[in-house]
C-alpha cells in the first residue's frame, strides 16, 4: 500500500516539475506581459498544487497535509492578486504612454 502511495506521490511531483518548467518557458518565450503572466500564474498554481498533493501523500500525516493545503491556498490567492496588480499596472503604463504619444503627435501637428 505504501509503495502505491509513494509511486502516486512521485508521479504527482514529476507532473508538478513539468508544469513549473512550462511556466518558466512561457515566461521566457511569450511576447508580452499579459501572456507571460498567464503562463506563470496558471502553471504555478497547478504545479504547486500537484507538488503539495504529492508532498502531502508522502508525509502521511494529516496535520502536515493541512498545513501544506493552507500554504497552497495562500500562494494561490496572492498569485492571483499579484497577477492582476501587474497586469493593471502594465495597462496603466501602456495607456499613459499611448496618450502622451497622441498628445505629442497633436502638438507637432499644431506647431507645423
Amino acid at each position: 500500500m505504501s509503495y502505491v502511495i509513494d509511486t502516486v506521490a512521485w508521479i504527482l511531483m514529476g507532473a508538478a516539475v513539468i508544469f513549473f518548467t512550462t511556466g518558466a518557458l512561457g515566461l521566457l518565450r511569450f511576447p508580452d506581459v499579459y501572456c507571460r503572466l498567464h503562463a506563470v500564474t496558471k502553471t504555478d498554481t497547478l504545479g504547486l498544487g500537484l507538488l503539495v498533493l504529492g508532498l502531502a501523500l508522502k508525509s502521511g500525516s494529516f496535520s502536515t497535509a493541512l498545513l501544506l493545503l493552507i500554504i497552497w491556498l495562500l500562494v494561490l490567492a496572492s498569485g492571483a492578486v499579484n497577477c492582476q496588480l501587474l497586469a493593471r499596472y502594465t495597462l496603466d503604463v501602456e495607456a499613459g504612454a499611448a496618450q502622451s504619444a497622441i498628445k505629442r503627435a497633436q502638438g507637432d501637428h499644431h506647431d507645423t
Binding site: 490567492a77 496572492s78 492578486v81 492582476q84 496588480l85 493593471r88 499596472y89 496603466d92
Partner: protein, 325 residues
Amino acid sequence: MTLELMPDIVLGALLLLMAWGALYAPTRYDAMALFVAFGVVVALIWARLGAPDLALAEAAIGAGLTGVLLMQAARQLPAEASVTGKRMPWFGSSLLFLVLTCAMFAAHILTDSSFKQAGIDASATRLLGGPTVPEMVTAALPNSGVSYPVTAVLLNFRAWDTLLELLVLLLALTGVRQLYPGTPQHPRANTASPPQAWPVLLSWARFLAPLLVLLGGFLLWRGASGPGGAFQAGALLASAAVMLRLTGLLPPLRWSSFLLRLAVILGALLFLGVALASLAFGDGWLVYPTQWAGALIILIELAATLSIAVTLSLLVIGESEDLSS
C-alpha cells in the same frame, strides 16, 4: 558524489549567479529583483544548513523588507539614474564564476570529513582540551529560562549582542531621520499609490494583515522552545504594517506621536533597565536571576518585537512627513 549534495550545489551555483547579476545588471530594477532573489536563495541555504532562525530572518528582512526599501528608493531616483551602465565582459565573468565554483567545491571536498565529524568550531575547541560550545550551551540550558538553545544564547548568554543590535536599529532610524529636512518637501511621497482604489487588493490586504499578526505572535511565543523570536516576529509585523501603508489602509505613522516614539525605544529601554537592575541588585550586568530568567526573557522579547516592528516599518515606509518632527 552523493545525490544529497545536488540541491546544495544547485543552490550554491544559484547564489553566485544571483550575486553576480545583482552587482552587474544593466538596470537598477534588474539588480534589485536579483538582489531579492539572492535573499531568497540565502534563506533556502540557511534552511538547508539546519538554521531555520536565520532562514526566517533572512527571508523576512533580507528579501522582503529590503526589497520594498530598494524599490521605494528607486522610485525617488531620476530616470537617468535607473541605468547602471555596468558591463562585465562575458569571458571574464564566466572565467571568474568557473574559478569560484571550483574553489568552493575543492574547499568542500578538503574540509568535508572534518565538517561531518564535529564542525570547525567544535573541533577547534576540542584541540584546546576544553568542552565545545554546543556542550557548554546544553549544560547551561536548564538555568537559562528557555528550552531552545538559540534563544538562550541570544537573550541570556550573549544578551549583550542582542542589546547592541537593538541599539544599532535605533541608530539607523536616527540616521534616517537626520536625512530628512525639517519641513515636508515631497508632496508626491504622500499621494496614494495607483492600486489603492482596487477593491480586491484592499480586501486581500485586510485578510493578510491579521494573519501576519497571528504568525508574528506565534513566532514570538515559539521562540522560547523552537525556531522563532523577536527579530522574526518583528519583521513579520513590520511587513504587515508596510503592506497596509502601501495600500493606503493605514494612516501615515507620525513621529510627533508620543506612543510611536515610545514604541521605538521601548525594547532598548527595557533591555537596558533589566541590565542596570541586574547590575545593581543581582549578580552583574545582564546576569538574570535563574527563577526569573524565563519571565524576563519573554518580557524583553515582547518589547523588542514591538520596537523592531515599528522601527523596521518606519525605516521602510517612513516618509519625510512621518519622520521629521
